[in-house]
């Protein structure tokens, strides 16, 4: 029954949160695996790939930070939940509390109600600063990352592997244990890319490039999706992230290279009209530099006006895609350039 399942999901989640939060505050390091194990061992259907069951250091860091902040916030929450009922009971009309209708100030209390939140914000802010720097999506997680270029399209994601020379649609194959650098752009409206068990969101925007670094430390299929509403197919715009061992990944690439289909500018143009992809597609090869060309296709035309790039662009698109891209044009339009 949904009810019982839901209950166990809650329990697992709460234990998971505790597992993430508690060691940072009090328990010795050794307790972490024990509590984490307890969380995973609880029966239930899991979290459909949520960050409550992290499968990599980035998502794990986000979960544990969630726990730390929650625990710290209890410092201001708990007193209210304790004090309010007492005050209501004691000072209700007819209660025992002394009626002091003109009492309006007390320096001690004043220092307390300003001081505690200030001190708390100092602690929270410090934690925030450290976690934000460590968890910066632009920070590479090690040398020699595997670069995957991601193009958000209407109701599907295109993944390009420049190192391997293969490409996929709605399937992100990754090796376990190797740092991954995802470079993202959009061929359409803004989207928000997430693989909850591995890392949080980053926007993909046309004409610009954003980055998401992550690392998977367990194998398996993890759901990823777009979270920014982009039309009728939004609800079903998800993809499978398949994390496999390094050897399996090599094997997967080799198999991919044996596929028939390749992706050139014309094939890309056929992907532009909004559509939901039911089965992932694997391309044995793609036109090198396609990612940069997609970004460049949104740069202002120096002559000839509007460059076709949208879903309605139809046959104009390939020409636009193969237009020469100058690197400074791209960088002017990336959020990275602002850093």
């Amino acid at each position: 029954m949904p009810g019982s399942q839901g209950g166990s999901v809650t329990l697992r989640g709460i234990v998971g949160l505790l597992a993430a939060a508690v060691p940072k505050i009090a328990l010795p390091k050794i307790a972490l695996p024990a509590i984490a194990l307890l969380a995973i061992a609880l029966p239930g259907a899991g979290f459909a790939g949520s960050f409550l069951e992290p499968a990599g250091p980035i998502a794990a860091g986000q979960l544990s930070h969630f726990g730390v902040i929650s625990m710290l916030m209890l410092i201001v929450i708990v007193p209210m939940f304790v004090a309010l009922p007492i005050v209501l009971y004691r000072y209700r009309r007819g209660g025992k509390g002394t009626y002091r209708p003109d009492w309006e100030f007390n320096w001690g209390l004043e220092l307390l109600i300003w001081g505690v939140p200030v001190a708390l914000v100092v602690a929270l802010g410090t934690a925030l600063w450290r976690q934000t720097i460590v968890g910066d999506p632009y920070r590479a997680l090690g040398p020699d990352p595997l670069v995957v270029e991601v193009v958000a399209l209407d109701w599907k994601f295109l993944f390009l592997y420049p190192e391997q020379g293969v490409a996929t649609l709605d399937l992100l194959a990754l090796p376990e244990g190797r740092p991954i650098t995802l470079k993202l752009t959009s061929g359409t409206v803004m989207q928000s890319f997430i693989i909850p068990r591995l890392a949080g969101q980053i926007y993909a925007m046309a004409g610009m490039q954003t980055q998401l670094n992550l690392l998977a430390d367990e194998t398996g299929d993890f759901t990823g999706r777009n979270t920014q509403y982009n039309g009728l197919g939004f609800a079903t715009q998800s993809f499978t992230t398949r994390v496999m061992s390094a050897d399996d990944f090599e094997g997967w690439v080799a198999t991919a290279k044996t596929q028939q289909a390749g992706l050139d500018a014309a094939a890309y143009a056929r992907l532009l009209p909004p559509a939901v992809v039911n089965e992932p597609v694997i391309y044995a090869r793609f036109t090198p530099g396609l990612f940069d060309q997609i970004i460049a296709s949104f740069a202002p035309g120096m002559a000839g006006g509007h460059a076709g790039h949208g879903p309605q662009a139809g046959a104009d698109t390939p020409a636009a895609i193969t237009a020469p891209a100058t690197s400074h044009q791209q960088h002017d339009h990336t959020p990275e350039a602002a850093q």
Partner: protein, 709 residues
């Protein structure tokens, strides 16, 4: 005959009923049903007005009035009508999400997209904004001892522009589609390339009209508070609701402008081929996100600050005690107002800016939590040493303290970029902002209605039904939104019309139950108003002070006369009316009366509103003749008005004296009631101050409450 010249892009298929005829489905039937309700509702109103002969009074006494009190009432009437629509939309979306695991459901994806867009747009711009504006309109001038706002006509124009926006959004139920771009309408999705058609244009013009109205309101109220305070009303003697009104007005002045700029630029993109926010040709949607949230974040505080003001009034009155830490609360409010302009980026931590930028805005966001936390504990300390009465308004306040602080906790969580990366765009975020807006703003407004209703209409609201309504609303909110936190953590995205994860089901069912309770609460609230109107003789409190109030508004009759104060009051302390009651100086006859100038009614504002509505409709449908004609007419009305010199009429001193002396005599003659009799028909609005009852500790019996009827 060129029909397009006359009707622009309206076709017969634009009417909502065409969808039902051409492509019958449950989703279309619901759309047609909603359209029918809008049409029938309008028809029923027309018939009622005609049968009852109310057209003339409606025009003469209300629409053309520039009295801040009537303007305030009309604002709140708009808010309640629009609330009825948007809350039903919310329940529809809940039902859809519950029934749509693995496809299914009864709404089409497109219909669902329109629902979440209209729900958000209406709730923010046409429920929350008119509600707070109406309340500030009514209460603030009374609290500062003024006869009206500084610019009464401008005030009426603000109202009519807001009403025009609300009408435009109601018309979209019947003619054409609404946007599916959400209440924030992010381009490029809302650009002409991806959203052709009239939907986004409806959003643009409805919101633009509302935002211009709010800008004018902000200016008007700020000037009123600076210039129209009665003698002795120094800034630090102002009631806290007036303080929060001042802060909100300042925020409105500065925050509405970026929104108007953003909507106009989006319109230029769509109508004139500009490239502010397009994907290509130099456009950049990041600029829209910045402009929108430069408005959007202060907007959160525009809404919550007046509610904070309400809470301060309610908690002090129903604890029969001075507010704790008045100065502290004022500074905290100002801190919040200023800081609210420094945190907008936390709405898009995920846009790829550097970690340092994210961290700074995250910490700034947490810092706002400090003054907010201070306020919450100030309210708690206000109850300490008081004599707390658990009236409906007070129940809302207690519920607010407990739930708001939890929303604050999730807000601090969301202020962490690392957490936000995971739960941004999920139901966690949806739960968070509803957690702030419903127990904070909406229930604040409901509490304000319970609290000030007897002032406005001269009779109390039925207390038993009020409490019944509260006991549906409060648990309804918890059930409807706390499961959403969990769903969001499990990864359920917002704005999603179907799911593939069965784990969500039990939580969605709980949320649906909550939505049903909220609807029941609303039905009980409507019932409460109807029953109270019927029992208005028993509930009457014409002597003006049913709650043992503290500020000046309680010193005058209920409902107040058009001139508010027969003689402008002299103030020497905070809580002036309460102090006067304690000192026995309340209800004294003034030495002399003078003639009072009050502004004449004028058709200027309703005409401007009417033409603004036509102008917006013309723009939405590209009916260019209508656009030009109505635009010219708007300015013709403004110019014509500028020639009117006889805009005020004089109320003779004798009239004022007769009315006021009658009121004072009745008040003095009335026996006065203790708080024990507050909820009985003995309460005619003359209070014996709690502090004069001379009792400490126990009180004989609990206050009886009218039985449910």
């Amino acid at each position: 005959m060129n029909w397009e010249l006359i009707f622009g892009q309206i076709k017969w298929t634009s009417f909502v009923f065409a969808g039902m005829i051409e492509n019958p489905s449950l989703s279309e039937a619901i759309a047609s049903g909603a359209g029918s309700i809008a049409v029938l509702g309008a028809l029923a109103t027309v018939i009622l007005l005609t049968v009852k002969g109310w057209w003339v009074p409606l025009w003469r006494d209300w629409l053309t009035s520039v009295d801040h009190k009537k303007v305030g009432i009309m604002y709140i009437a708009i808010a309640l009508v629009m609330f009825a629509r948007a809350v039903i939309e919310a329940a529809l979306m809940r039902a859809q999400q519950l029934s749509a695991t693995d496809g299914g459901g009864f709404l089409s994806a497109d219909h669902f997209g329109q629902l979440f867009s209209t729900h958000g747009t209406i709730m923010i711009f046409f429920v929350a904004m008119p509600f707070i504006t109406g309340l500030m309109n009514y209460v603030m001038p009374l609290q500062i001892g003024a006869r009206d706002v500084s610019f009464p006509l401008l005030n009426a124009i603000s109202l009519m522009l807001t009403m025009a926006g609300a009408i435009v959004i109601m018309v979209s139920l019947v003619v054409g589609q609404f946007s599916t771009g959400g209440w924030s309408a992010y381009p490029p999705f809302t650009g002409i390339e991806f959203s052709p058609g009239e939907g986004v244009d409806y959003w643009i013009w409805a919101v633009s009209l509302g935002s211009i109205g709010s800008t004018l309101t902000g200016l008007n109220f700020a000037v009123t508070i600076y210039k129209k305070r009665c003698p002795g009303m120094t800034l630090f003697r102002m009631p806290l609701f007036t303080w929060t009104t001042l802060c909100t007005s300042i925020l409105m002045i500065f925050a509405m402008a970026p929104l108007t700029a953003a909507t106009v630029m989006l319109a230029l993109d769509r109508y004139a081929g500009f490239h502010f926010f397009t994907n290509g040709d130099g456009g950049n949607m990041m600029n829209y996100a910045n402009l929108f949230w430069l408005f959007g974040h202060p907007e959160v505080y525009i809404l919550i600050l007046p509610a904070f003001g309400v809470w301060s009034e309610v908690v002090a009155t129903f604890s029969s005690k001075r507010i704790y830490g008045y100065t502290s609360l004022v500074y905290a409010t100002m801190c919040i107002a200023v800081l609210s302009f420094a945190v907008w980026l936390h709405h898009f931590f995920t846009m790829g800016q550097s970690a340092n930028v994210n961290a700074i805005f995250g910490i700034a966001t947490m810092i706002i939590g400090v003054p907010t936390g201070v306020k919450v504990y100030d309210w708690l300390l206000t109850m300490v040493g008081g004599r707390i009465r658990f009236s409906t308004a007070m129940l809302y306040h207690i519920n607010f303290l407990l739930t708001f602080i939890l929303g604050g906790m999730t807000g601090v969580l969301l202020a962490n970029p690392g957490v936000d990366f995971q739960v941004h765009n999920t139901l966690f975020l949806v739960a968070h902002f509803h957690n702030m807006i419903i127990p904070g703003v909406l229930f604040g407004m409901f509490a304000a209605v319970q609290f000030w209703f007897p002032k406005v209409f001269g009779f109390r609201l039925h207390e038993g039904l009020g409490r019944a309504s509260f006991w549906c609303f409060a648990p309804g909110f918890l059930l409807a939104f706390f499961p959403l936190y969990w769903l969001g953590m499990m990864g359920a995205t917002r704005r999603t019309y179907m799911w593939s994860n069965p784990d969500y089901l039990p939580w969605l069912a709980l949320a649906m139950l909550g939505a049903v309770l909220i609807l029941a609460g609303f039905a009980l609230m409507v019932t409460q108003i109807v029953v109270s109107v019927r029992q208005r003789a028993q509930l009457a409190a014409p002597l003006g002070d049913p709650w043992d109030g503290r500020a000046l508004e309680w010193s005058i009759p209920s409902p107040p006369p058009a001139w508010n104060f027969a003689v402008l009051p002299q103030v020497t302390s905070q809580d002036p009316f309460y102090e006067a009651k304690k000192a026995g100086t309340a209800y004294r006859s003034p030495a002399s009366y003078e003639d009072i100038e009050v502004p004449r009614n004028t058709a200027t504002a309703p005409l401007i509103g009417l033409f603004a509505c036509a102008w917006a409709f013309g723009l939405v449908w590209h009916i260019w003749w209508l656009v030009i004609v109505s635009f010219v007419l708007i300015w013709a009305v403004v110019i014509a008005r500028s020639f009117a010199t006889d805009t005020e009429e004089t109320v003779p001193a004798a009239t004022v004296k007769a009315a006021n002396e009658a009121f004072l005599a009745a008040a003095r003659a009335a026996p006065g009631v203790t708080r024990d009799q507050e909820m009985t028909s003995a309460n005619r609005g003359r209070a014996i101050p709690e502090a004069l009852e001379g009792r400490s500790g126990t009180i004989a019996s609990g206050a009886p409450v009218e039985a449910l009827s």
